[in-house]
């Protein structure tokens, strides 16, 4: 009885009792969720266009952030370094298309999946070789990102918002909006959906697979760079950051692998869910809930909707 009370009643009493804490927790969950959504977006973009689950997405994020910081350390001004990093991500997209995708076209998905494993280790090796393996600090202020915090009086308490988190939420929302319009409304967007649906048919109407793949991988690279900057600013830039990319997996399962809105909503659900869970239910079992709650939520969703919340229901005529 006490157990049931402490699971189903007590947390809500706490929420009602200290609404400022609830707001704070929700905010932190929201920011985390937005960043998870960004990572998941990178996966979704590539999966939609090439049917490849890109295991290297997390490393691309670290690699992008590392290139940015590394170049700055070598004396390149911050915004020049940002530009150069974007160029590097473009070259990476071209290289991936030439070296991995083109020779492996029409191979089973699992082969391409394994190839992205290979890409992961190439990127780790390359990053360490060029910029060294030590954790670095993100060049937040040099990129004119705000630091410090804003305090608000809310519901009789004090809620403190990190400025960098606010910036992250705004930048992420902008990116998502631009990408959504880009893929829904433009010729390239239509071509991308066509490629995702049927390679052969796409070729026959004159869509160049090579071009689409470069565009998609480049876009995923840009998303990785933005994510890398934001996550890097919250902790620091090292290959351990890849761990947060694993959090994108439950987000993807939740949202469906093929849906951009799914990635966003999934990210928010996971982000907010794990913060609330950690703060209000965590103490019941001694904390540490945050590291696995996301997977638990995803599993629960899978039981009800195997295609995820927004995944395409597969239409098959028999």
């Amino acid at each position: 009885m006490t157990l049931l009370y402490s699971i189903f009643v007590d947390p809500f009493v706490q929420m009602a009792g200290a609404p400022d804490l609830l707001v704070q927790t929700l905010w932190e969950g929201l920011v985390g969720g937005v960043l998870y959504a960004l990572i998941a977006l990178g996966f979704v973009l590539i999966f939609k266009a090439s049917g490849v689950f890109n295991f290297a997405q997390g490393i691309m994020m670290v690699f992008a952030a590392l290139t940015l910081v590394g170049l700055h350390e070598k004396g390149v001004p911050a915004f020049v370094a940002l530009g150069l990093t974007i160029v590097v991500m473009f070259l990476l997209a071209v290289a991936v298309e030439r070296v991995i995708l083109r020779p492996l076209v029409n191979q089973p998905d699992i082969i391409l999946f394994m190839a992205t494993f290979g890409l992961t280790y190439v990127l780790i090796g390359l990053g360490e070789l060029v910029f060294g393996g030590n954790p670095k600090n993100m060049i937040t202020s040099e990129l004119l990102l705000p630091s410090g915090s804003l305090d608000f009086k809310v519901l009789g308490g004090l809620v403190s918002l990190q400025k960098i988190d606010i910036a992250a939420a705004i930048i992420a929302s902008l990116m998502v909006a631009v990408l959504a319009v880009f893929f829904q409304k433009t010729r390239i967007g239509r071509a991308l959906r066509a490629v995702a649906d049927d390679h052969q048919a796409a070729l026959s109407v004159g869509i160049s697979l090579d071009q689409i793949w470069v565009i998609v991988w480049f876009t995923a690279g840009l998303v990785a760079l933005a994510t890398g900057i934001m996550w890097g600013a919250r902790s620091n830039v090292s290959f351990a950051l890849e761990i947060v990319a694993l959090k994108a997996l439950p987000v993807l399962i939740l949202g469906g692998l093929t849906s951009v809105p799914g990635a966003i909503v999934g990210g928010l659900i996971i982000g907010i869910g794990e913060k609330l869970g950690e703060f209000y239910w965590g103490p019941l079992i001694g904390g540490g809930v945050e590291s696995w709650l996301a997977y638990f939520i995803a599993l629960a969703v899978l039981l009800v909707r195997p295609q995820g919340l927004f995944g395409e229901k597969i239409i098959e005529r028999i």
Binding site: F182, A194, S204, E312, I315
Partner: protein
Amino acid sequence: MSVASGAPAGDSGETLLSIEHVSLSFGGVRAIRDVSFDIRRGEIRAIIGPNGAGKTSMLNVINGFYHPQAGRITYKGATRRRMRPHQAAAQGIARTFQNVALFKGMTTLDNILAGRTLRMRKSFFWQLWRYGPALTEEIEHRKYCEEIIDFLEIERIRKEPVGRLPYGLQKRVELGRALAMQPELLLLDEPMAGMNLEEKEDMSRFILDVNAEFGTTIALIEHDIGVVMDLSDRIVVLDYGNKIADDRPDEVRRDQAVIDAYLGVVH
């Protein structure tokens, strides 16, 4: 930009595509052996033959999916080395597939619009805002696609995801997508496979109309000999990758080698 404009149909005598001594093999399997034939502008050219004769391989060679190991292909007067499929499409070669290759999650209209990809010229910056030249362009393309939809009598299914449509209609949508490219050469791989008599008659009518009204040159593969004889101006017959006949329908019908290949003979 009207659908029903174009050169008068019929055999013009001008060669649009010529295939010379083409051979294609996959490892030890020789799919096409030293085959030559040509396609003249404005005609309906049929490629027939028993299963495994190399018909589909031949279409794949023409639109650049396969690259033959030997031989020459001359299209619109230019001999090409290795042409990639999207380049073939850019030069006016459109095709449909034996097993219907549509974008199943998209609607009929979107599928046909996808056929206009190469004709959309405005940069995506304009398209992003759906404004100015891009908007005018989009409206033009939509109009053209609606005319095709009208022509193929598929207004009812404009907004249906094509994955849900019956097979016969999917074939028609696929034809529509190919037509949206305003092709000079249209390759049809078994356009009537799996259709009932009525659907076959409809499809035959569309093929003849496309040829007559748009002046499109058509190369088609078909198993229904009756349909082939009625539709086509000239017929190539393949058997085990070899060309065994190349003539007008009446002559092909009487050709002993063709009868042998189709009916089998006791040697």
